[in-house]
């Protein structure tokens, strides 16, 4: 593998990894913090208040 190809493929993987991390991170925070499902709300109730999410 030449240096050029390696750098290029690493940059593309990097962008994908960054987007995946942002998306999964946002999904976890919104699921625990904001989702309106009753079960999620009850389970995460104290966490939501403690972190200051606008909960109810």
């Amino acid at each position: 593998m030449t240096t050029t190809t390696k750098t290029l493929s690493q940059t593309q993987t990097g962008t994908l990894a960054i987007l995946a991390a942002l998306a999964l991170g946002a999904f976890l925070v919104f699921g625990a913090g904001l989702a309106q499902s009753a079960a999620l709300h009850d389970a995460a109730h104290d966490t939501r208040h403690a972190i200051g999410f606008p909960c109810h």
């Binding site: 990097g14 995946a20 942002l22 991170g25 403690a50 606008p54």
Partner: protein
């Protein structure tokens, strides 16, 4: 790259989440549970456990023997509530960790990623400022039984404030151009110039003494947990970067 981002983020998020939930159980949840005793005519959370008992028997291990899922009210210490809160806090901080380390990876492209855990702590405190401190200056951390404006409006202002503060801090702290730094500061100020949605009248049933204690503790615990998150994420990120430098391949 996947392994570097997700490994650093999830391990730091797990540890920071454990630290955060321990501090929440010690400082924040007892105040919250006590406030629920004052909350009348509202939803009863967690199957009607007596808030006063839960507050005063906090940490009573023996009470666990009396616990059953069908009858949480009989237990002095609510293990179900404890477990769910711990889990939700770990999940939340894992999410924060993923977004923080994604920020490291973006910053690395312009040569400003943390190269020491102490810089990670600063990133963590910036995350705290964006996600907890700046929104709290408009919408204080809320006890159950507090009066507040309509939830949709609050969530919109809250999310907008987080984004504006995060982007503003990144511009102000990481840019070398004074004009861009000033634009960042203006962006941080903007949500507070617009103003957070507040109710027409304050008629919350939570005692003001409890509310202020809750808000202060919520922010204190958040600051510590975010500093731990940032410091650990910075340490893991720096270590992985050194590994790459010595010939390890990015996954």
């Amino acid at each position: 790259m996947f392994r570097k981002i997700f490994g650093s983020a999830l391990l730091a998020g797990l540890i920071a989440g454990v630290v955060a939930s321990a501090l929440q159980h010690a400082f924040v949840v007892p105040v919250l549970v006590e406030a629920e005793a004052y909350e009348t005519g509202d939803i009863v959370h967690f199957g009607g456990v007596s808030p006063a008992d839960a507050a005063h028997d906090h940490g009573d291990m023996a009470a666990a023997h009396a616990h059953s899922h069908a009858d949480a009210a009989s237990a002095g210490f609510d293990w179900e509530r404890f477990a769910f809160t711990t889990l939700a806090t770990i999940v939340t901080f894992s999410g924060f960790g993923l977004m923080l380390v994604a920020g490291f990876a973006l910053a690395e492209r312009v040569g400003v990623a943390p190269r020491a855990s102490v810089v990670g702590v600063l990133w963590g405190l910036a995350g705290f400022a964006a996600v907890q401190l700046a929104p709290a200056m408009g919408l204080a951390p809320e006890l159950p039984g507090s009066a507040a404006a309509e939830m949709g409006a609050r969530q919109t202002w809250w999310l907008g404030t987080i984004l504006a503060t995060a982007i503003g801090l990144a511009l102000a702290a990481l840019s070398r151009s004074p004009a861009i730094a000033l634009a960042g500061i203006a962006l941080i100020a903007a949500p507070h110039v617009i103003g957070a949605p507040h109710p027409d009248a304050f008629a919350g049933v939570a005692p003001p003494e409890l509310s202020s204690l809750f808000a202060a503790r919520s922010l204190g615990v958040g600051a510590i947990a975010w500093a731990v998150l940032g410091g650990l994420a910075g340490m893991f990120w720096t270590r992985d970067a050194q590994g790459e430098h010595h010939g390890g391949a990015a996954a």
